[in-house]
């Protein structure tokens, strides 16, 4: 069963792009963490949500207890009107269309 970590924040006025940029920079590290599957980041107005999905609860726990997760939350906090809220969920249902959500690897080099 997959697990998700949801981070919700409200950026201070004018800080949304900085917050998103910060998250994007950390993704290069996060995506190398064992068990990481994918992440979705979305925003509306000054609010943003990052949903990362993990192969199992042990992988999510290892990430959540890592300096990577701690530092991301610590560094996002000053950019937000309140500290971001983080929760974890067990993924109950995931459906994609027949073509698949992600583009398939068409067998090119690399």
């Amino acid at each position: 069963m997959y697990y998700c970590r949801v981070l919700e924040g409200i950026a201070k006025p004018g800080q949304l792009q900085t917050a998103l940029q910060l998250a994007q920079e950390r993704l290069e590290i996060i995506k190398k963490v064992s068990g990481f599957l994918f992440i979705q980041i979305m925003d509306t107005g000054d609010e943003f949500i990052a949903v990362s999905s993990w192969r199992n609860s042990r992988d999510l726990q290892a990430y959540a207890e890592s300096d990577i997760a701690r530092n991301l939350l610590k560094d996002l906090t000053p950019l937000c009107v309140a500290p971001p809220r983080v929760r974890t969920y067990e993924l109950r249902l995931m459906i994609e269309n027949d073509e698949g959500f992600f583009p398939s690897d068409e067998g090119g080099e690399g």
Binding site: E65, T77, A82, P84, R85
Partner: protein
Amino acid sequence: MGLCLLFASLFSACTSSPQETSKALMKIDNVTLSRLDDRTLRVTLNYDLAAGVKLPLPYKSVLVFPLEPRGKFAGQVPTIEFSNGLIALDLEIPADAGFTWQDLTAKDACCVVSLKGVKDVLSSNVPEYERISNSVTVPLPLSPG
């Protein structure tokens, strides 16, 4: 708005219970206090559960007391789901909290930060607290702006 204030329920004038006990369930460090405005205090700290401590913790809730000993004031921390991590929350200090920032400038009046568990006391309406972390002394946060 105020996303995190939703779970940062506030407890003002939380006087220490005579029956307050202590258990070393976790270590806290890197504690910071900052005043966002005259009534809002931001608290951040790292926590690390002691070896062998199992989750969930056996308390109705866990409170952070950021302004002791003079400032009898606490905020509820989010549910602790992992053995270590960062706690960051904004606490709104009520106008009737029973102290002013000026009071906290007195020698040794502030700021000894610790976490306490609220015990489930069936036979009494008086909450009992159990200190569950070490105490960290930090400087009184500067006035905003």
